[in-house]
Amino acid sequence: MSSNSSNSVPCGMTTVGAKMLVALTGMALILFVIAHMLGNLQVFLPGDELNQYAHKLKSMGPLLWVARIGLLSVFVCHVGLTIALTRRNAKARGALSSNEIQIRATGERYVNGYSYETATTASRFMIHTGIVIFLFVIYHLLHFTISPDHPPVAGDELIDVKAMVIEGFSHSIVAGVYIIAQLALAAHIYHGAASALQTLGLRTDSTKPGVSKAGILLAAIIGIGNISIPICVLTDIIS
């Protein structure tokens, strides 16, 4: 038996229970991402709908903080548990025991690696796309929420979010960072959505075709929806 305290899941959970919580929080985050995207897509509307929408959110008062803290808890739970599970999995996989430099240098569990047959690239790099998304969320909050450079004012004390978005994405490096992060998010959701349904036992004979499509569909909708904004700013479709 190779179990020890550093190899366990937080709060005495089983790995199956922890995975279910990761799946549930992941689904909640997908719902948030969809709502966030629909809000942002108002940038394509001709008037100042986006500014009005942002103003409405900001005027929610205590409710806004309830939503923010709730979202943060879900996010921390999702990230914390996946880090714990990933570390546990690395321990379970084990390392090669050899003095041979050539073997030690491979860093793989098998001397020449394992030939994967069915695992999709997205599924094998979940932790990596996850890290990219994590770093992006910090950058994104600093960029638009915590310290917007000069919040322009568009009369009636409305913050001109639309101008902020256009100004931000007119820098090709900033737009590039957003596009890369959204591609990582799409890859993460592509595996994550279908995987979450399987983890929650919702994949049955009758739902199977739908489950496999759910990942692709959600990834495509969220990816295209979010990436369209920086692309359209860069190409002067929104100005």
């Binding site: 190779s2 199956v16 229970g17 098998y110 030939s115 994967y116 399987q198």
Partner: protein, 251 residues
């Protein structure tokens, strides 16, 4: 008759360092099984007064689950079968003349020697929940319990698991979920499994965790490596059983 360049993992004991050892194996017929090729290699080694390679095998009929080996980066080699039922023609037909052989690797499957690993963690998972309560006395009539054919088929497909451990060897996380789920699903589909249904899934998942197996991230490599084609549908069943045991009715 073909000649193969074989590289095989040698490790003198559980705590020793291992290495890949090179051998040339000559006179191999396409109809020989993979294990017969290794027998051939061991005969050569014994003739030279060297230590033969240790590897697991028993029935050599593909039904016991004793044989293992990761062959050219795949658990049980390039075909959907056990290593004992893999034939050398599979290599001959594809002009593969170099073969890398390693043990099934996982922290929960410690190496005993060379390519022999200790898979008794699986036995402890079975001991913790892979049983049913029966009344002693005369054997009941075989048809006393009515089981619909689709249910019986699903249970049988899950019961086909021979517990070889290829799923753990193939999984990036060394997860035993396919094995454990096959056992849980097998008994969850049969009325005989009802008495311990709630406890079974918990005991088996807890033992799986205690043994140090990883968690499932739904890569699906286990299903691809399984010589008995056990489906990941069983993992969804285990997950449902797990939820059911927490929030479902107690009877």
């Amino acid at each position: 008759m073909a000649t193969y360049k074989v590289k095989i993992w040698r490790q003198s004991g559980p705590n020793a360092n291992g290495h890949m050892e090179r051998h040339i194996v000559k006179g191999i017929d396409g109809d020989m099984s993979f294990l017969e090729m290794l027998d051939h290699l061991n005969e050569d080694l014994e003739e030279q007064g060297k230590e033969p390679v240790a590897f697991d095998h028993d029935c050599r009929e593909g039904i016991c689950g004793a044989c293992s080996l990761v062959i050219n980066g795949q658990a049980h080699g390039p075909e959907t079968t056990t290593t004992c039922q893999l034939h050398m023609r599979s290599f001959e037909e594809h002009n593969v003349s170099e073969i890398d052989i390693e043990p099934f690797r996982a922290t929960a499957f410690p190496i005993i020697k060379d390519c022999v690993v200790d898979r008794s963690g699986f036995d402890r998972v079975i001991q913790s929940g892979g049983f049913v309560s029966v009344n002693t006395g005369n054997a009941p009539d075989a048809n006393a319990n009515a089981i619909p054919k689709p249910e019986a088929d699903t249970a049988f497909d899950a019961a086909a698991c021979i517990g070889c451990g290829a799923c753990v060897a193939a999984c990036k996380n060394a997860s035993a979920m396919l094995f454990v789920s096959a056992k849980v699903s097998h008994l969850a589909h049969l009325p005989q499994g009802d008495a311990e249904r709630r406890e079974r899934v918990h005991s088996m998942v807890n033992t799986m965790d205690k043994e140090g197996f990883g968690s499932c991230t739904n890569y699906g490599e286990c299903e691809a490596a399984c010589p008995k084609s056990i489906s990941t549908d069983n993992i969804a069943t285990l997950n449902r059983e797990f939820i059911r045991s927490k929030v479902g009715p107690t009877t």
